[in-house]
Symmetry: C2
Subunit: 408 residues, 2 copies
Amino acid sequence: MRHHFSSRAAGAKRSPIRELLKLTEQPDIISFGGGLPAPETFPHEELAAIAQELLLKEPHNVLQYGTTEGSRTLRTEVAKWLSDQDIHVTLNDLLVTSASQQGLDLICKAFFDPGDVVFCGLPTYLGAVQAFNLFQITKIGVPLEDDGMDIDELESRIVAARREGKRMKGIYVIPDFQNPSGITLSLEKRQRLLEVARAYDLLIFEDNPYGHLRFSGEPIPSIFSMDDEGRTIMLLTFSKVLAAGLRLAVMVARGDLMDVLVRVKQPTDLCTSKLTQMIAARFMQRHGLDRHLAEIRPIYRAKKEAMVAALAKYMPNDEGLRWTNPDGGLFVWVWLPESVDAEEMLPRAIAHKVAYVPGASSYVDGDGQNTMRLAFSLCTLEQIDEGIRRLAEVVTETIASLKAGARS
Amino acid sequence: MRHHFSSRAAGAKRSPIRELLKLTEQPDIISFGGGLPAPETFPHEELAAIAQELLLKEPHNVLQYGTTEGSRTLRTEVAKWLSDQDIHVTLNDLLVTSASQQGLDLICKAFFDPGDVVFCGLPTYLGAVQAFNLFQITKIGVPLEDDGMDIDELESRIVAARREGKRMKGIYVIPDFQNPSGITLSLEKRQRLLEVARAYDLLIFEDNPYGHLRFSGEPIPSIFSMDDEGRTIMLLTFSKVLAAGLRLAVMVARGDLMDVLVRVKQPTDLCTSKLTQMIAARFMQRHGLDRHLAEIRPIYRAKKEAMVAALAKYMPNDEGLRWTNPDGGLFVWVWLPESVDAEEMLPRAIAHKVAYVPGASSYVDGDGQNTMRLAFSLCTLEQIDEGIRRLAEVVTETIASLKAGARS
């Protein structure tokens, strides 16, 4: 039946990494692989009470179809919450989605014809790359620096793409504690990114799943809040700040941009679950998202600190070896010595009962073989220490065997 | 910002009907418009107990990410339930989706390039037409007869499309109590449809949201169950048999067809809500879907009978006026005299405090002006009687004024 497949389906490959990570679900493996939120942060008792109450008292609401735009109650709560962060939007600027991955699908649908160009980080979020691939979008990578995307390099790649007659649509960026690198885009660079987007008439897709998980340092305003032209679409999600299993997110955009997103969402799924929407809305009304965030941030901070401390304690002294120390989010990023291929090293790691995500799949230019992503979110502090100890053994062995190979 | 829109976005129009129907949400209007399940069929007390229990006892399961394929527990229950209906599938033949509208989105993604052809009924489901439009798919309509799609006509349109060099992919069909017409495809025609699909190497997209809502007559086997070549994809949904607000459905397909659907689902939304999946799975385990269906079918039967009785009682005697009398589902379909335009008549109906869906939007060939869809599912028996009484007044007035216009 394969002759019936669309040409876009060829771009939808099962991720070999994801398949490999399925092997790591054995209980004796310590996995830093999946970017899953810490389950102990789920306010499950509060959600249980809310779900029960909604189903008993408002079944005709929560069990019925809703509007494509999303629940007014939820959007009202989100607008209030954003207003407290000095982001002022109306309900019409908010679209509820079935998590942010759907938001990326809607962006692809609304703005990209095959061959159109999106600019993204080197590295960038694998799920976004998969969405771009499915829609046959041309991805042009831009290197990240310690303070985020290299804006000079971005501009020169835009100029080059323009010279080649490419149809450029926008820049995809995860400004806070980026997945996979943990890197944050500085305030100055956010300003410059907006200037570049304006100068070359590009949209900005600001994916912000981790911004509210800042556990140290000062918050930096979102690009959306600094954009007075309305060319930014911001994706916020409940996956990391409340519960991933709700599959619930909110897109923030104005005017025509929002209008087209609503129009493409309707044939995509008619509407997002009213039940999950109302569970989140009631949680915001009753408990407050900021109060909850204040409770869960220390959990992530402790895990990040445990991971960075373990890396310092166990990793071999090698000048090619370094890692990020993020102020928030879920991930630490490791650069291994250039001779080490993290994907080739993974079977050895699994044999040592520890797992990670090799970084190369997050590079749209085929680079990044010597990088890996470590999620500190899912493990306990003890598992983090033990897992990094095992991983350091693997790295030490790998470097040693490469050196032996080089000598022989 | 409109110059940034994709060419496909032009195919995503807000439905004017849907916008008009928003006006009908006033409480004094009796609306036969939206195809919403009867809210009194939602087993909300059972679902409340299940949701609470799941959130208290399995939060790390139901609030976390799941696999793209869907919960094994839910797929196991669905496989068992289908086995009782003599449809034998493995878990790998089942893909959980965020309701069947997402299933249509995945079908469009997996199989259709712009310009590829799908065959569908005249009329057919508006939501499917919207999905086909978004993916720039060429829709070729085939008239429905009282026992479903005219298969001779289908074959001659396939031959004509082939002669024109069109790339044909499949046939979209809602075999049981079709939306919008309520018409059921006969057993003989299901067999012939499969033969035609085989002869011309087409896929069959069997959308079956209503098949289990049969309240009279004998069930007819699904096309999927009669297909020994594996060219049929069946879409089943919990929207009408459990609760629409869960946004939960299951696609049934084999081999390569299932493989590509899973591959395009991953970048679409990563996974469907684990919470809603486990609520449905637990309901099936604990209460049984067949027992629940046995309880809710009489509710739909009574409503359908009330509507058909009211139509017979109130509608004027006019030889051009007739309607379907379905054995299941949610809809009665009305053919008005050819001179009546149901869309033009709608404002008059709303003035009389009754609403319906004009049929023309369900015809991909621009026909059907004199048809309308009446959903009997949402109203009470009293509202059905009163609503049809009002509607009959509107029809009577409209016919009279057209005759007066013709005379003058």
